[in-house]
């Protein structure tokens, strides 16, 4: 099968208008005859369900949480970008487009990114009208800040809780549709399989997490909005129930997985404190505006930071990148922290952290000013670590944060399975090899409010969709397969806890498919992942029964999927012989140790087709062309 991205013709500024005009429409009177399944209630899922409900479709919305409002999107802190140019500082749709293509290290599709920048302005209008309490200035207009190294102020925010407020806005609109009867909620349901009938996605199998029952639901089309796969690394900033299961099971039914090796590692997280650690906490990268990053010059220097004189400290970011200093992009800052720790110069009990020191800023501006800027972050840090950053330098370390890879979709957000659409972090579309701050929230809402409603209607209006009931053989087969897998994992009754396997696969990914990768490490990791998977099915201990609330059973199913998925993650990294954004291959660096991109050979999207567990998947390449933003090597020296 050749990949057709279905990008409309014409100049980039007109492509989306053209597509909207070409699209088929569904008569309002006919819409309620279509059932649409939406899986996931984060920004992408809730906004899609709300819009489709408002249009009059029959929406069934599924999620693993007790309430849609608890989806992982709730945790986003920093903000959301939009090319409003309210600051009169030279921003424009074109500039946001340009920054995003460049920030993605030239591995995203230009047409998608342009549409994202275009629609960004409508997202803000939509959210304000819903009552999202964005920060305001004294004159009553919306406030903006600059974020993630952007030269313009285009980030809208609601204190440190932007994701929460955007999600509640989408949730409330969606609950209005529940009240109106167009959206039906299915909470505490985990999607375990996609049902494909005659080549079209026609339903899902999910487990009712309270009763344990396997339910079949049929529909005209299925929208997957199930988030990213960062939790394959075990420790990440993601919510602990985030998982790859829904996307992975769709992949096994024929949806290609694109660029899984593009994962983002965020430089400013609170370091690991011990084996018990269940997740990592992000601290806004705005801290790097005033904090100075350093480690001791000498390996093994265990003195208290106050005992280490300035001459024996290495402010390594300022030294290596004099023009950007502490503000280098996420990928560069993360790798630099890793390399000083690898040299034995890391600090803290584990040696796996670096200092982020505010002493100079406090001296210059006074503690009250610093408190005004970062008070809530300092409080959070203190609560978790029991250390006072006004007195001793903070300790930070990089952590897995976001996944740019995901299911392959065309310009219409449709996967390689007709009728299966993928929205939000679950797809691969807009961020290339590296995501810029404040752009994931923008993409999730753009997909859900403004893109899918048109492209899904086009599909429904054009496809032949014979009636399918849940008694169809494809549903029976999928239920039987899901049941067999549950029975199998419960039957192992081994001696190791599920968490031990999750931690082990996470450690393999972190060590070999993390901040820096090389051929030998990746090949070894693939072998180790395979043996770990075999061992899991021999020796995992899953307690309880299948017929009631059993969080351990849910967890075991997710870990089993990580153990399959991790192999493709490593394989994709192995195949990409270049360093690019979140993917740093040690064999491909410039003489001074920076990432070496190889545009001539690797300017493509790698889309993997499933051929069987442990079998070599088939690689399909979608070539990327850059007509507007010409690739150049990034330099921060």
């Amino acid at each position: 099968m050749t990949l057709d991205s279905r990008i409309p013709g014409g100049p980039i500024t007109e492509k989306w208008d053209r597509r909207k005009f070409e699209n088929k429409l569904v008569n309002p009177a006919n819409r309620r005859k279509y059932d649409i399944i939406v899986v996931g209630t984060g920004l992408a899922g809730s906004s899609a369900a709300a819009s489709l409900g408002e249009m009059g479709y029959n929406v069934k919305l599924f999620g693993i949480h007790e309430s849609p409002r608890r989806a992982h999107s709730i945790a986003a802190q920093g903000g959301i970008n939009a090319a409003k140019n309210y600051r009169n500082d030279g921003d424009s749709i074109y500039r946001l487009f340009y920054d995003t293509v460049k920030g993605g290290d030239y591995r995203a599709r230009e047409a998608n990114v342009y549409r994202l920048a275009q629609l960004s302005v409508q997202i803000i209008d939509q959210c304000v009208a819903q009552g999202v309490p964005f920060a305001r200035e004294y004159g009553g207009l919306l406030d903006n800040r600059s974020f993630g190294g952007a030269q313009v102020s285009r980030t809208f925010y609601a204190r440190g809780q932007t994701g929460q407020q955007l999600l509640l806005g989408a949730y409330q609109s969606m609950m209005r549709q529940v009240h109106a009867g167009t959206v039906q909620l299915f909470p505490r349901r985990e999607m375990l399989d996609l049902v494909v009938v005659d080549g079209q996605a026609r339903g899902i199998i999910c487990r009712n997490l309270v009763t344990g029952e396997l339910e079949s639901h049929s529909a005209s089309t299925v929208l997957l909005c199930t988030g990213g796969y960062g939790t394959v690394f075990y420790l990440s900033t993601n919510a602990i129930n985030s998982n790859v299961t829904a996307a992975w099971r769709a992949h096994k039914r024929g949806a290609y997985f694109a660029n899984p090796c593009f994962t983002q590692i965020h430089p400013t997280c609170i370091p690991v404190s011990g084996d018990h650690q269940s997740k990592l906490t992000l601290m806004s990268e705005s801290l790097r505006n005033d904090g100075r990053v350093w480690v001791p010059k000498n390996p093994g220097d265990k003195r208290h930071p106050s005992q280490i004189p300035d001459s024996e400290r290495d402010y390594y970011l300022e030294r290596r990148y004099p023009s950007f200093g502490n503000l280098v992009p996420r990928d560069v800052a993360s790798r630099a922290a890793k390399s000083v720790c690898d040299e034995g110069r890391g600090v803290g009990d584990s040696g796996l952290s670096v200092y982020l020191d505010f002493a100079d800023a406090i001296k210059r501006f006074g503690a009250p000013t610093i408190k005004g800027r970062y008070g809530n972050l300092f409080d959070m840090y203190m609560r978790i670590t029991d250390e006072d950053p006004y007195q001793v330098p903070m300790r930070i370390y990089p952590a897995v944060h976001y996944t740019m890879g995901g299911l392959w979709v065309d310009y219409n957000l449709q996967s390689t399975i007709p009728g299966l659409f993928v929205l939000g972090e679950a797809n691969f579309s807009d961020h290339g090899a590296n995501r810029l701050g404040a752009s994931a929230l923008m993409q999730g809402l753009c997909d859900g409010y403004f893109v899918a409603p048109y492209t899904v209607a086009n599909y429904l209006g054009g496809a032949s969709l014979p009636a399918v009931s849940t008694s169809h053989d494809s549903f029976k087969e999928a239920v039987a397969a899901a049941q067999a897998r549950i029975d199998k994992v419960l039957a192992v009754r081994g001696s190791k806890s599920i968490r031990e396997y999750h931690r082990a696969v996470g450690a393999l990914c972190w060590d070999h498919v993390g901040m820096a990768r090389n051929e030998q490490g990746l090949k070894g990791a693939i072998q180790s992942i395979r043996s770990l998977r075999d061992e899991f099915w021999q020796n995992v201990s899953v307690p309880g029964e299948k017929n009631n609330l059993n969080p351990a059973l849910d967890y075991a199913g997710r870990v089993a999927d990580y153990l399959e998925f991790a192999e493709v993650l490593a394989l994709d990294a192995l195949e990409r012989h270049e360093s690019c954004g979140g993917h740093f291959r040690e064999e491909y660096q410039t003489p001074d140790g920076e990432a070496l991109r190889r545009d001539d050979e690797y300017s493509y999207v790698a889309a993997w087709e499933f051929t069987g567990v442990g079998q070599m998947p088939t690689l399909h390449k979608e070539a990327l062309t850059f007509d507007e933003v010409h690739p150049s090597q990034r330099s921060y020296k």
Partner: protein, 249 residues
């Protein structure tokens, strides 16, 4: 530096099954663990021993999703003011302590299993009117209606509610007034929410009563345990809006 902690945990197999306290002791507790990580460690040992682990809800583990919620030694979310259960750390306790853990207890929040309760009543209160009735596509420019900063800040103070239900758990009447009034205030003070202000208050309060939440007797226990420190001033505001809606009917 490991600590030994004894837990008295409420175990209940299902909504209609009888519940009881069971006791567990762990000597693997570390002061840097969060409260939920301590429960993870206890559960992993139960699993290895072939026993049924303690069921509890959590997701973000950083105080924003509202999933977690345990009554720790009689206090919803435990000893730290302005924090959720997942933000409490074991260094708050001493080696040798015994800790009692219970679920939220309220008629409108039935127990599903052990420490997991059903809080979907909150979703139904929102569905009754906790929104601005506008469709995608019709929004004017975001800056077309200026909003005074004080009002935007007041709206945000209330919009911060994470819907955890600690307010209900702390109230001797199991009232949901703080939750409901926070949403009514958030939307009611903004120009975007003003047109439906009274209708919204009436619909949400009626739903709250229909769900079986109790009445408010002004003790302020809800405000004391709210992890986002939402003020009971919102309740007074809700009552005024509700009265106005009732008298203009």
């Amino acid at each position: 530096m490991a600590m030994t902690i004894t837990l008295n945990v409420w175990r209940q197999a299902g909504p209609s099954a009888p519940g009881r306290f069971e006791s567990y002791t762990s000597d693997k507790v570390h002061p840097d663990m969060s409260f939920l990580e301590m429960l993870d460690v206890v559960n992993d040992d139960l699993i290895r021993a072939g026993k049924d682990p303690i069921a509890f809800d959590s997701d973000c583990r950083e105080g924003i999703c509202g999933s977690c919620g345990l009554v720790i030694d009689g206090i919803p979310h435990g000893p730290d003011p302005g924090a959720t259960t997942c933000q409490v750390h074991m260094r708050r306790f001493r080696n040798g302590d015994t800790i009692t853990i219970e679920p939220w207890r309220a008629k409108a929040f039935p127990v599903i299993k052990d420490l997991v309760v059903d809080r979907t009543a909150f979703d139904r209160i929102i569905a009754a009117g906790g929104y601005v009735s506008m469709n995608v596509g019709g929004a004017p420019d975001g800056n077309s209606v200026p909003v005074p900063k004080e009002l935007a800040d007041l709206a945000m103070d209330n919009a911060q509610c994470i819907g955890c239900g600690a307010c209900v758990a702390a109230c001797k009447n199991a009232a949901a007034h703080l939750f409901t009034s926070a949403k009514i205030t958030h939307l009611g003070v903004l120009p975007q929410g003003e047109p439906e202000r009274y209708r919204r208050a009436a619909a949400m309060v009626e739903q709250m009563d229909a769900e079986g939440f109790g009445s408010c007797s002004n003790e302020g226990e809800c405000e004391a345990v709210c992890p986002k420190q939402i003020s009971i001033a919102s309740i007074a505001r809700m009552n005024r809006d509700f009265m106005r809606a009732a008298t203009s009917k």
